[in-house]
């Protein structure tokens, strides 16, 4: 009796686990090579890698800054979704998944629901392509975007979907795809802010671009972990050209003690220790041009 119940229980657990892990059918024919499914050789520990991944700032912050500066929304900063069906390798799918993720952040910040659905569809297709579609709640996101009922939930579920995809890829020996996704997100965010800087001269934007030096170092650390993959290795070489430009940027620090003030009935801590970015117009232009060149090459079909 007990044995029968145990077998029934195991069957239920098995069926439930199948349901929660069920991925949607891939829209694009894509075979995961066996080499990819074997354990990846990590240069740094999983724990250290996780910390570095957390240390890459969100593209949502860039988009929010741009909006705060009064820059009007424009689709010209966005990557086109027209090529989505032509992204037929895991490298291109993962990289452009990150790119569209950054663009989704920009669209969400500006609450552009009409365009959001187009990007959600593209993301869904690419997520299915690299078999992480089960973490992308397309229907809920589509509903939230079209109804504009809750922008906070839209932001939360979007960010959470990407975090879950990233986590799943890294836990299943496909960390190189996660690294590509993170790189795609960051480069697209950098492209967005550099293109805005071309049209709107702002000390704040220039400083923010210069500070991306820190994020680029983190991106390279993440990618270096997977340099045995030829395409990752090529991306590292490309990004090292950008690093050469960023290395010219100087960041210094000034010491100071934090102050506590009250603003709108809430405690605010004002940091008085400051980072000072020294970036010349020439350095900024070189970064802008190199970013554009790299980004456009990587999103091409």
């Amino acid at each position: 009796m007990f044995r029968s119940a145990f077998i029934i229980l195991l069957t239920i657990v098995f069926l439930l686990s199948c349901q929660t892990r069920k991925g949607k059918q891939s829209a694009t024919e894509f075979e995961v090579p066996d080499s990819v499914l074997t354990s990846e050789t990590m240069v740094i520990s999983e724990e250290a890698l996780d910390e570095i991944v957390q240390n890459v700032s969100s593209p949502v912050e860039m988009a929010a800054l741009i909006k705060e500066l009064g820059v009007p929304f424009s689709t010209k900063y966005l990557a086109t979704t027209d090529y989505v069906d032509k992204y037929n390798t895991s490298f291109k799918m993962a990289y452009n998944l990150g790119v569209f993720g950054a663009d989704l952040g920009y669209l969400n910040i500006y609450e552009k629901s009409a365009q959001v659905v187009d990007y959600l569809t593209a993301i869904n297709k690419l997520a299915d392509g690299i078999k992480v579609g089960q973490f992308f709640d397309f229907k809920t996101l589509q509903r939230l975007a079209t109804s504009r009922e809750n922008i906070d939930s839209l932001m939360f579920i979007s960010v959470n979907s990407f975090n879950n995809m990233d986590k799943y890829l890294r836990e299943n020996s496909r960390g190189h795809l996660s690294a590509l996704m993170i790189a795609g997100t960051w480069i697209e965010g950098l492209y967005l802010v550099t293109q805005v800087a071309v049209e709107k001269s702002s000390k704040d934007l220039g400083d923010r671009i210069g500070e991306q030096k820190v994020n680029l170092d983190n991106i390279l650390l993440i990618l270096n972990n997977y340099k045995e993959y030829q395409q990752v290795s090529e991306l590292i070489a490309t990004l090292n050209e950008l690093k050469d430009e960023f290395d010219m940027v100087d960041i210094t620090y000034e010491i100071g003690e934090p102050q506590t003030v009250e603003q709108d009935g809430m405690v605010m801590i004002v940091q008085n220790e400051k980072s000072v970015v020294k970036i010349t117009d020439d350095q900024l232009n070189k970064i802008i041009n190199k970013t554009k060149q790299i980004r456009n090459k990587l999103i091409s079909a």
Partner: protein
């Protein structure tokens, strides 16, 4: 025998409660950071009670904050958590602020942080009196 079957089915149907954080609670906490705040990330923490004569367990999360941005830190402790969560923000090994002042008993949840130095910071989450607990910390971007 009936009792054993009952135990097995109890485990089966309460499994999600043990295996993962309630996603509804996380979303509720993440989307209730207040006026002008945009969700950036969350920190889900589950900690055991401190053992006698031992330091209370603490969870640590690294994050990059950018200059000239205002960030909001909040922490939500669900009703069924035995311990109340405290969120602390550190710059290297220097405490910047804590959501709870032990000396006065005052709570500052949420609190804002005007960042003037782009760099790596750390969020620490622990539970008062070293109790066992689970909570969600949330980082949001505040529009000026």
């Amino acid at each position: 025998m009936k009792r054993q079957i009952l135990i097995l089915f109890t485990i089966l149907f309460t499994w999600p409660a043990f295996s993962q954080f309630n996603p509804g609670f996380v979303e509720q906490c993440a989307t209730n950071s207040g006026k002008n705040a945009t969700y950036l990330k969350d920190f889900q923490v589950v900690l055991n009670a401190a053992q006698p004569e031992q330091v209370a367990p603490i969870a640590r999360y690294p994050l990059v904050l950018s200059k000239n941005n205002i960030y909001r830190f909040s922490v939500c402790t669900p009703e069924d958590s035995p311990g109340k969560a405290v969120l602390q923000l550190y710059d290297s090994n220097k405490l910047i602020f804590s959501s709870f002042n032990k000396d006065t008993g005052e709570e500052y949840n949420p609190f804002n942080f005007l960042c003037q130095k782009t760099g790596i910071y750390h969020v620490f989450i622990s539970f008062l009196d070293g109790k066992q607990g689970h909570a969600v910390g949330v980082l949001s971007y505040v529009t000026k």
